[in-house]
């Protein structure tokens, strides 16, 4: 659900958060891990169901917690580039602006079902038509009521190419949206099993205000209908939100919330330890280990829908165009060793380039395990001797992991050169149609849709900007799955696709990624696998 183009954002057209970040107050790691696993596959089933608001959910009211401090201070790694929901969805912006705006639909934190939010209910009259009823009585903080027109406007402005919205790809299946006061109708080019998932990322902006002040002013002075409104924004340094007293979901728990930009992870840890911040986002496993030793703070770690993977360049003129080489690499990595050492256990092994909690995950695949002898055999079989692999990366990725993989691959006979460029250059390089970016890259992928479509389609489909791989059989399978509303059929399509990937190895799944945040011990908060950051869900106890 989060998308990033900021440096932090790592690769993804689809949503995903890079680095380390979390939500969910983890009472205990074990429970969390179990929960994450068990929820797998629950993603977007029931897309065609009609759901009503009543039963579903975590009403914001319930979030209004015990008496906490008037101000909640949150350290994030980067500053929000913008607070206009149409313009960015890098993690850092997303965390902030999702509290200013409301979403059309949400996922239940526990069941991961899609539940009503601004839309009180919805129907799916034809495979390509969706009609949402808008909950009455919601107003923007400038007093204008929120209507279906606002929802339609929010979608259509993303579809408008002149806005250059980075979210365009998520919604490109939509042909258009039309609104009335109480409803909004969305049409799609083809049946879309993931539409509702993507709509969880949609924030609703006030049509009248945006058209009146223009995009640029709106960016600086955003107005929404969420639990908080913008109080002050020192660009690059701090965003302060204040509670929206007229919020339809009840009184928000903290009078103000400060989001501070603290790029150095060690400093964020120190801030939590010293009490300067209540929550520190995006910590490393080692930070977590450190924070655990501090009695006044806690680690909030949580398996996410993100998968850590290695992308291998099949198409470029690089040793990895040889299948033997790719297999040698797959056998040459000590997954369990990396999980227990570098990741400090904050990771879960996977068998493919998918997180177990994502729809389409196939637990029956064998996957690859660490076997240096086999690795050397395959390398020898390739006849390339000791080929040089170029490991493309950027400072946005943990350099220790990259170096560890480098060391392991060198141990089985490769020569590995690390090529670091800044994030923007890295992205351009990797996405170049020439496929000349190198041999291996590391990434963490999520689509914030809990669906395989958001992962393997962009990563491996022929011609996708992230893909350095091409296989018509694979393309056919993922294409079929993306336009079907029948989940059984889809699962079988993905099984086919994943089998092909296991054979061809255009990428290697490393593990399910954990979001790790640090917090004051009074914080009680359980972010879901989608790493949402809704302030009303963050409670203050004892």
């Amino acid at each position: 659900m989060l998308h990033l183009t900021s440096p932090a954002a790592a690769d993804s057209t689809g949503p995903k958060r890079r680095g380390h970040k979390a939500q969910l107050v983890a009472a205990s790691m074990a429970v969390l891990v179990a929960a994450g696993c068990s929820s797998s596959g629950s993603g977007s089933k029931g897309a065609s169901a009609t759901t009503t608001a009543s039963g579903a959910s975590s009403s914001p009211t319930s979030a209004a917690a015990a008496a906490g401090p008037a101000t909640l201070t949150v350290d994030q790694a980067n500053s929000p580039a913008t607070l206009d929901p149409g313009l960015q969805y890098d993690t850092d912006s997303y965390v902030v602006y999702r509290n200013i705006f409301d979403q059309l639909v949400r996922r239940d934190q526990k069941t991961l079902e899609i539940v009503p939010w601004v839309a009180s209910s919805w129907t799916n009259p034809t495979p390509t038509t969706w009609v949402f009823q808008i909950r009455p009585g919601i107003t923007f903080t400038n007093g204008t009521p929120l209507t279906g027109n606002d929802v339609a406007f929010s979608i259509n402005r993303i579809l408008d190419k002149t806005l250059n919205s980075p979210q365009y790809a998520n919604f490109s299946v939509i042909t258009g949206a039309t609104g009335t006061t109480s409803s909004v109708t969305i049409t799609t080019t083809a049946p879309s099993p993931t539409l509702l998932s993507y709509l969880t990322t949609l924030s609703i902006v006030p049509q009248q205000y945006v058209t009146q002040v223009g995009n640029q002013q709106f960016d600086l002075h955003p107005i929404g209908s969420g639990p908080y409104e913008l109080s002050s924004w020192v660009q690059g340094s701090q965003v302060t939100l204040k509670a929206n007293p007229t919020y339809w979901g009840g009184k928000p728990p903290y009078q103000t919330v400060d989001f501070r930009t603290v790029p150095t992870a060690a400093t964020r840890v120190a801030d939590v330890e010293s009490g300067a911040a209540d929550i520190a986002l995006e910590l490393t496993p080692d930070n977590a280990t450190q924070l655990k030793g501090n009695s006044s703070s806690q680690v909030i770690a949580q398996p996410t829908e993100r998968v850590a993977y290695l992308g291998l360049n099949v198409l470029g003129s690089t040793p990895t165009s040889s299948l033997d080489v790719r297999k040698a690499i797959a056998y040459g990595i000590d997954y369990q060793g990396l999980i227990s050492s570098l990741e400090q256990g904050y990771a879960q092994p996977v068998k493919e380039v998918l997180s177990p909690n994502v729809f389409g995950y196939d637990a029956s695949l064998s996957g690859y395990t660490y076997d240096p002898t086999k690795a050397k055999q395959f390398l020898a079989q390739s006849g390339l001797g000791h080929p040089t692999l170029v490991f493309a990366t950027s400072p946005a990725y943990p350099s220790s992991l990259v170096q560890a993989i480098q060391a392991e691959l060198q141990a089985v006979g490769f020569t590995v050169t690390i090529s670091t460029t800044d994030q923007a250059t890295y992205l351009k390089k990797v996405q170049s149609p020439a496929h000349d970016w190198g041999s291996i890259r590391y990434g963490i992928w999520s689509c914030s849709c809990l669906d395989a479509d958001g992962v393997i389609y962009p990563l491996f489909h022929t011609g996708s900007i992230w893909s350095s791989y091409s296989n018509p059989a694979f393309d056919t399978a993922v294409q079929a799955a993306r336009t079907s509303l029948d989940s059984t059929q889809r699962l079988s399509d993905y099984a086919t696709a994943l089998n092909i990937l296991q054979q061809d190895l255009p990428g290697i799944g490393l593990w399910q990624y954990y979001a790790i945040d640090g917090a004051n011990k009074h914080i009680s908060w359980t972010p879901g696998p989608q790493e949402t950051f809704f302030i009303p869900q963050i409670k203050w106890v004892g």
């Binding site: 992870a265 080692d286 050492s341 570098l342 060391a407």
Partner: protein, 302 residues
């Protein structure tokens, strides 16, 4: 706070012309003052032959033995200064890091120094038009804060060790040019230079025999102090990810990595920082000593 009697000076004529050697009792002190040379000799040896001194390979990882404190033995290898986040030997990396730091700093200083000095001397000798152009250009470069300019250039060229050297040299030359220019002007105003001109000495010989020897001491002093700065700046660029790339054992990169572990594994950042600090202190002190020796006009604190 202020002594009642502030010492008054002597005119040159009154100062005893021949001051004899200090008594032997003090001579050991005079030798000890040159301790930076000893430190730098060790560093130079480490830079030239790191494989002799380093007990382990700088990039040998051992994930089980990661983040072990100084003095730990893992898998039969003992780590005197502990291990880093990949289980690499901090001591060996610090020793190999000497090579990076010293090489980058010395090449950058030599390159920037030679170019800057020659331009400065040229400007000082042909000060009408050419000199004006050169020094104006130097002023422009100098008016951009050095580190910002370095960041900009690295960002454009892409981060790498070679580019670090190029950047440090190209961005730093005006410093030498300024000094060389000033010293050259001063040298040209010296009577003996005028006398040589009057004797008919041509520009080349004038430069070689009279100007250069006059200008060189100050330049050597500046260059020495610059070496210290360059070591710091190489580390600084690596620190923000724009210098040496992993797994190159650059002190700055080690510090950058170690910063994450400063409260759990203090040794990762502390030892490269200490090494950096000791080398820079030594270089700076050496610069001061050289200044006293070569450039007595700007005596420095002891």
């Amino acid at each position: 706070m202020i002594p009642a009697e502030v010492a008054a000076p002597l005119g040159p004529a009154e100062v005893p012309a021949a001051v004899g050697a200090e008594p032997g009792r003090r001579s050991y002190r005079r030798v000890l003052r040159w301790w930076p040379l000893a430190v730098l000799a060790v560093a130079a040896f480490a830079a030239a032959f790191p494989f002799v001194l380093a007990p382990n390979l700088p990039d040998a990882t051992d994930l089980v033995g990661r983040l072990k404190g100084p003095g730990t033995t893992v898998h039969g290898t003992s780590y005197l200064l502990g291990t880093d986040s990949l289980g690499r030997d901090v001591l060996s990396r610090v020793i190999w890091g000497t090579r990076i730091s010293m090489t980058v700093a010395v090449i950058a200083v030599v390159a920037g120094g030679v170019v800057g000095s020659l331009l400065g001397i040229l400007a000082g000798s042909r000060r009408k038009v050419l000199g004006g152009v050169i020094m104006r250009f130097a002023d422009m470069v100098l008016s951009i804060p050095f580190f910002l300019l370095a960041i900009l250039v690295v960002a454009i060229l892409g981060p790498s060790l070679v580019n670090t050297v190029i950047v440090l040299a190209t961005v730093r030359w005006p410093r030498y040019a300024r000094v060389a220019f000033g010293q050259t002007l001063e040298a040209h105003s010296r009577e003996f230079v005028k006398a040589s001109v009057a004797v008919g000495v041509g520009p080349w010989r004038l430069f070689r025999r009279h100007i250069l020897p006059e200008v060189l001491p100050s330049l050597i002093v500046v260059a020495t102090l610059e070496v210290g700065l360059m070591i710091i700046y190489e580390a600084a660029l690596s620190f923000i990810g724009l210098g040496a790339q992993p797994p190159t054992p650059s002190w700055g990169a080690m510090l950058s990595e170690g910063q994450q572990y400063v409260s759990t594994a203090w040794w990762i950042a502390t030892f490269p920082g200490l090494a950096l600090f000791v080398i820079v202190v030594s270089v700076n002190r050496l610069g001061d000593l050289l200044r006293d020796r070569l450039d007595p006009r700007q005596r420095s604190p002891r």
